[in-house]
Amino acid sequence: MFFFVLRRIGVMLLTAFALTFIVFYMTNLPPNLEKLAKSEASVRMSDEAVASWLDENGHSGSVFLRYAQWVGIAPGWVRLEDDGTTKGRCIEAGMTPEEAPRYCGILQGQWGFSTVFKQPVSEVLGRSLGATGWLMFWVMAVMVPTSLLLGVLSGMREGSRTDRVLSTFAIATTATPEYVSGVILIAVLASATAGVSPILHGWGWISGKTLFPGTATSAMENITFMNFALPVATIALYGIGYIARMTRASMTEVMTQQYIRTARLKGVSFRQVVMKHALRNALIAPFTVIMLQFPWLLNGVVISETLFNYKGFGWTLVQAAGNNDIDTLLGCSVVAVFVVLVTQLISDIGYVFLNPRIRLA
């Protein structure tokens, strides 16, 4: 078991380095750097000026070396200027070269400076992750119990009317990506000209023009049902369908197993067959699915936050990517890759623990 975890962590670290390197490479492509130079210094720079600006700011040279500096496993670049001062990656304003640390990368907690938000990246990320954390929490709290319940209910008696209704619902939600469900939810519930809001307003049931607000910006300060329901529903809807279908498939498979027949012919009641014999075996597969859903959930978060203007992680990612904010984008990638890999690890280990056949083999 110990070796298994150790090996998984090894593979995970390797993956993390490979992925962050790819991201680093792709954000530091020459066209991006050129754009950076022009936006930081002057738009009308000549090509030579761009080259020298990049050189002065440590953006030239081998990409591997720059990556290693960014991670913090190679010493930051140091450069003696013509005017006698020493500039360096790790030398902040008001610091002498001697005081500055040799290494300053991600591992040392130096995440760089955001050109869009004019703040250190670590602060930007901290704030936006906090906001997204709440969003994710509520999404999970809604999505996981609902989808498991739906899946178990429909998989318990395959082909029954409950099964058909619930399965159709699940298929319909998996066909509705977040940008579609978000748009429809807003149109139906938060539009002053369409959907239910004008009708309710006409009846005098709601005082405002719309039932739900069309943005979730106010949820940054204070989360309420009204301002959070739509973004959460937008993300959860797609996931509910997907996980419910997985659970259903797993449940129907378990229900046809011989040991379920054994239990039934032992005289166990249907309720007990489901609760005691089927459930645990049926939930092994959905558990891994839920964990592996994270890369996709991140998509949902980005779309939902953009749509509802909720300034969390996804919104930050879009801003950074759209404005060539290299350090922030890199920071976002590190966080995203880290989250995905950790959930994969949890999923692997959890699978082993849930399944006694593997654990004790």
Partner: protein, 695 residues
């Protein structure tokens, strides 16, 4: 919940005119028609028939568990006088598990993988008797000891996958016995087990049946097992009971043509491929929606009378001068049942030619990493140890052994799918032990071919039969044009006695036996000299087995092929092989001619194996030798003699020789080899296991 009004002299189970159908979108498929039988208290009733005859459906109908599509369309099932067909789910729930219990074919699949054994056992009395948890566990412990499992406490706290197949089946039996049911239904309970393990389980079932006075409904395709276990017997064919009666009556005085044909198609002692070949039942089992009018067996019956047998429904009639013996045949009085079998074709014994295949000291070791996560130390599995033998042209050499004995590994090495660790394989005068199949030339490959075990797996489901044979011809560079290959393919279909129209069929349109014939045709496409047949008939029904075995023998005679026949079934081995090699955990423990191996002196393992094989002949008297425990894992073989953990003769060897020293190969009279420490005088005084009582 015992019904106090029930009179023990009345039948426990009384099935009358039961009809069951399955409903699909297209049609109603009758699975069981007009089935009647009674089981008295303490009686064991056997249900025998080939696959698809409806025997399992009857069992599930008694449990009222026919699934969504199955329905009882007529008749009644009375259990202790109460009609099960009209019971509500709730009433049924009280009977299931407490008064009627069931044991299934696949022990691993019948146990919940995520629940401890103890919890699964204790559940039964907790539901039915409302027993407290502690008490139920205590009872479970006692029953586990009753089914002769060692260390009950450890077993109760184990998960199913931690037990071996034999142990799991004992647990399933224990579970069925937890609330001392009045009726026990066993659906092929030992089919998935090795023969020596099967013998132990069967013994246990018999003993417990006596001990608890349980009635049994025992479903099997194996007549020998039924003879072992049951008092009464019901033979089924295509959804109908065709003959019922006491086991002895039916075995010795059968009164239905199907029963007779069935017995003539199984290899009993005395049958011989040359002088007394088996008689296969012609034709195929009718599909449920294609049953003929009148007698279902009519089209395959040698006593068929046009206009009578196919005129109308045939009722069950009592056999004259017999006790509770019935048959579904209208010509029962006309047929001379004692007429001797018309002598079929008798063959000359094929002469044995030059040495084709020679193995010398062949070894095959695997290194496997132990532990599920591939982290632990590497371990060496010795799959084959010092295999040496010769096989000659036209000879049949049987390789006998149970799971894990290394026979499949040997086949792989011979075929070139694996290379040998050391030793030599000579095919004619070519060394092939370390040539993987990719580097073998086409001639070598086409000379050694294989027939596989599972008929449902042996053909590619998405290619026509003809195409698959033609592909083999292409690969073996046969013929110059597509036409030539096509002609040859049709000839091969003739050779295996399949209609030429089958060339265009897809495998799913063929029956198991037919698929196996195609597999044989494919193996002989390149004119194979050596054919490895890996349990080629063990997955087939008995009546089909005879036909396929016959076919193999036929082709062998024509082509003087060397046949390496891998099997665990000693009956068929005795019937068709010239020489026999018995393997256990990678070692050849005994080798000799068929007569030498089947008569004393035996290797102790051969002796046990012979005793374990059920024989469907009332005249046979067997010594009962039941091996303790399971076959050790090849990953972790015992020190010394591989068989020492289960050997009953170990006491006769001085000191701890068996536990420490690998026995040498001893050559007895007539090149008969035995790998055993037993002294000569003990070997010489061994009793034969099987005796045929004088009539």
């Amino acid at each position: 919940m015992t019904d106090t009004t029930w009179d023990p002299s009345k039948p426990i189970l009384e099935i009358e005119n039961l009809s069951i159908s399955f409903f699909t979108r297209l049609r109603e498929i009758p699975a069981v028609m007009d089935f009647s039988c009674t089981v008295m208290a303490g009686e064991a009733m056997g249900l025998v028939g080939e696959s698809g005859c409806g025997k399992s459906t009857v069992a599930l109908a008694v449990m009222r568990d026919l699934g969504k599509n199955g329905r009882i369309v007529g008749g009644s099932i009375k259990f202790k006088g109460r009609d099960l067909t009209h019971m509500s789910e709730e009433e049924l729930r009280h009977i299931r598990g407490s008064e009627i219990a069931m044991i299934y074919q696949e022990p691993m699949a019948s146990l919940n993988p995520a629940m401890k054994i103890g919890a699964q056992l204790a559940e039964v009395p907790m539901i039915h008797q409302g027993m407290a948890r502690d008490e139920a566990w205590k009872l479970a412990r006692q029953i586990v000891a009753d089914v002769r499992l060692p260390d009950p406490d450890r077993i109760l706290n184990a998960y199913p996958h931690q037990l071996s197949g034999g142990q799991q089946q004992r647990i399933v039996i224990a579970m069925a016995l937890m609330s001392k049911p009045a009726l026990l239904i066993l659906d092929e309970p030992t089919t998935a087990l090795d023969v020596t393990v099967e013998a132990g389980v069967i013994d246990l079932v018999k003993d417990l049946g006596h001990k608890y006075g349980t009635s049994m409904l025992f479903i099997s395709h194996n007549l020998g097992l039924v003879l072992d276990v049951c008092n009464r017997l019901c033979v089924m064919y295509s959804g109908e009971a065709v003959e019922t009666g006491n086991v002895k009556d039916v075995f010795d005085k059968m009164r239905h043509p199907y029963t007779q044909a069935l017995f003539r198609s199984i290899p009993l002692p005395g049958a011989d491929k040359n002088s007394r070949p088996l008689v296969a039942i012609p034709g195929n089992f009718p599909l449920p929606h294609e049953r003929p009018t009148g007698c279902n067996f009519g089209p395959r019956c040698s006593y068929f009378a046009e206009g009578r047998c196919n005129a109308g429904d045939i009722p069950m009639v009592d056999v004259r001068d017999a006790n509770r013996h019935e048959s579904r045949c209208i010509r029962i009085e006309e047929i001379d049942w004692d007429a001797p079998l018309q002598a079929g074709k008798v063959f000359e014994k094929t002469p044995v030619g030059r040495v084709v295949l020679k193995l010398d000291d062949l070894k095959k070791y695997y290194s496997v990493s132990s532990g599920a996560f591939g982290s632990g130390s590497k371990k060496v599995v010795k799959a084959n140890e010092t295999l040496s033998f010769e096989a000659r042209e036209g000879e049949t050499l049987a390789i006998v052994g149970e799971s894990g004995c290394g026979k499949s590994t040997f086949a792989k090495v011979l075929m070139g799918l694996e290379t040998a660790t050391s030793g030599q394989i000579m095919l004619f005068d070519e060394n092939i032990q370390s040539t993987p199949i990719q580097s073998r030339n086409v001639d070598t490959i086409s000379q050694v071919q294989m027939v596989f075990q599972n008929p449902f797996d042996t053909l590619n489901p998405s290619m026509t039969v003809g195409r698959q044979i033609i592909r083999a011809l292409e690969i073996f560079n046969y013929g110059k044009s597509d036409e030539e290959r096509r002609d040859r393919m049709l000839e091969l279909l003739d050779l295996v006695k399949l209609p030429r129209a089958f060339a265009e069929r897809m495998p799913r349109q063929l029956s198991g036996g037919q698929k196996q014939r195609v597999g044989i045709a494919r193996a002989f496409a390149g004119g194979a000299k050596v054919v490895v047949a890996d349990e080629p008939v063990s997955a087939l029904d008995v009546s089909v087995q005879a036909a396929v075995t016959d076919l193999l023998m036929d082709i062998q005679r024509k082509n003087a092929t060397t046949l390496l026949f891998i099997s665990h079934d000693l009956s068929i081995v005795r019937y068709l092989s010239d020489r026999v090699m018995v393997m256990y955990l990678g070692h050849v423990v005994e080798m000799g001619t068929t007569d030498q191996v089947f008569s004393p002196p035996y290797h102790p393992y051969t002796e046990a194996l012979l005793s374990a094989v059920p024989i469907a002949d009332t005249r046979v008297i067997k010594q009962r030798i039941v091996l303790e425990g399971d076959i050790p894992s090849a990953m972790n073989p015992p020190p010394g003699c591989p068989f020492q953990t289960r050997c009953r003769w170990k006491g006769k060897v001085a000191g701890n020789l068996c536990e420490t020293v690998m026995p040498p190969v001893r050559v007895l009279e007539g090149q008969h080899q035995i790998k055993c420490h037993l002294p000569d005088d003990v070997l010489a005084n061994m009793e034969p296991v099987i005796k045929i009582a004088a009539e």
